[in-house]
Symmetry: C2
DNA sequence: GGAGAACTTGACCGATCGGTCAATTGGTGG
DNA sequence: CCACCAATTGACCGATCGGTCAAGTTCTCC
C-alpha cells in the first residue's frame, strides 16, 4: 500500500513484474482503457496484489513516468559529461537520447498521454525542463566561446527537443528506421538550426 | 444518429454547441474522463440529445479531429499558395500555422491525446502526413533551384513540424508568448536547419 | 515448531460508464 | 387544425470501473 514497505526479494520481483506489465499495457492500450483488473488478470494474480504494492493506478503511472525520466536524464548526462566542447556535448546527448528511445519504444506514447492529463502533465514538463536546461546550458557556453546566433538559448533548446521527439517518433518508432542514421539527422538539423558549423562526426 | 440527417437551423446550432462544448471539455479534462453525461449536463439537455446528433462519443471526437485538421491545412494552403519562392512559401505556411495554433489553443492537447489512442492515431498521422508533404515539396523545390543540403526532404519536413509543435506548445500555449515572435523563432531555426539562408523578413 | 510479517485471494462495494428507447414536445407546411 | 417530422426528455440497462477487506497461505527468523 503506502509509500515504503519492506519488500522481500520476492516482493521486489512481483512489484517489478507489475510495473513492466502495466507499462506495456498503458502504452499499447492507453492509460484509461487499461483497468487494474486487466493488469492483475494478465499477471494471473488476485486484485489485492496490485494494491499491496501500489496505492492506486495513478501512483503506479506516476512512478513509471518518473523513473523513465530520471533514467533518460542519467544516461544523457553519463554520455555527455566527459565531452568538453559544448557543441560536441550537445551532439553526444542527442545521440544518447535517440539510443535510449530505441530501447524504450513504449515510453514515448506514455509521455504523450501524460502531457494531456492535468495530473501528470506537470511531471512531464518538469522532466522535460531539466533536459532542456542541459541543452540550453551547452548552447549558452557555445555562444560564449565560438560564434552562434544570438537567439534565445532556451528557445533553441526546446526546438532541439522537438526535433528529437518527432524524428524519433516517426522514423524510429513508426518506421523502424536505423537509430544511428536518425541520430545523425537530428544532430545535423539541430546544429545547423542553432547556427553551429556542420557537425563534428560522431566520436566513436 | 446516423451519418446524415436533415437538420433544421436549430438542429445545426445544437450540433455546433455540442461540438464546441465537448471540444473544450476534452481538452481540459481529457477524452476518457469526459463522459457523455458531463457534456449533456453542461449543456443542460437530456442525454438523448447527444445521441440524436452523434452515433457515439468516439465519432464525435473523430469529427472534431478531422475538421480541425482540414481547417488548419486549408488555412495553411491559403496563406502560402500565392507565394512563389519555395523558401518564402515554407515560411508563410509556418507563420500561418502558428497563428492558427494561437486561435485554437485547446486543439493541441486533443491531437496529443489522439496520438496515444490506436483508434485515433491513424487519423492524426494522416493529417500530419499531408502537412509534412506540403513542406517536403517546398523543400524539394528549393533544393532544385537554390542550394540546400542534400538531406532527405521528408525528414527535414518532419523536423520542421516538430519544431513548430513544441515551440507552439511551450511558448505560445503554456507561457502565453507573442505569436509573431514565436513564428519568427520557428522560421529562423527551421530555415537554418534545412541549410537555407537567413530568413527573408516577414512580408507584412 | 511457532510467531509474526509478507504476500495472496477473490467476493464485494458504490459509482459511473456508454448507450437505448418509449413517450413527449415543438415547429412547420398543407 | 391536423399531420408529420425534428428535437428532446430522462428512466433505464448491463458492464465495468477503482478500490476494500476479511480470510487464507507462504516465508523467515528465532
Amino acid at each position: 500500500m503506502s509509500d515504503e514497505r519492506r519488500l522481500t526479494p520476492r516482493g521486489q520481483e512481483r512489484r517489478d513484474q507489475i510495473i513492466a506489465f502495466a507499462t506495456a499495457r498503458f502504452a499499447s492500450h492507453g492509460y484509461h482503457p487499461t483497468s487494474v483488473a486487466d493488469i492483475v488478470d494478465g499477471l494471473g494474480v488476485g486484485k489485492g496484489v496490485f494494491y499491496w504494492y501500489f496505492d492506486s493506478k495513478e501512483t503506479l503511472f506516476s512512478e513509471i513516468l518518473r523513473s523513465a525520466q530520471t533514467d533518460l536524464r542519467r544516461r544523457q548526462l553519463a554520455a555527455s559529461a566527459s565531452v568538453e566542447d559544448p557543441v560536441a556535448r550537445l551532439g553526444a546527448a542527442l545521440r544518447e537520447s535517440v539510443a535510449w528511445s530505441a530501447e524504450h519504444r513504449e515510453l514515448a506514447t506514455l509521455f504523450d498521454f501524460a502531457l494531456t492529463d492535468e495530473r501528470f502533465a506537470p511531471l512531464i514538463q518538469a522532466g522535460r525542463a531539466a533536459l532542456v536546461d542541459d541543452a540550453a546550458t551547452a548552447i549558452r557556453r557555445a555562444a560564449r566561446t565560438g560564434r552562434l546566433g544570438a537567439d534565445d538559448p532556451e528557445l533553441a533548446a526546446y526546438a532541439i527537443f522537438g526535433v528529437a521527439t518527432i524524428l524519433t517518433a516517426e522514423f524510429l518508432h513508426r518506421r523502424d528506421g536505423d537509430p544511428d542514421a536518425i541520430a545523425d539527422a537530428v544532430v545535423t538539423f539541430c546544429l545547423r538550426g542553432i547556427g553551429a558549423a556542420t557537425p563534428p562526426r560522431p566520436v566513436e
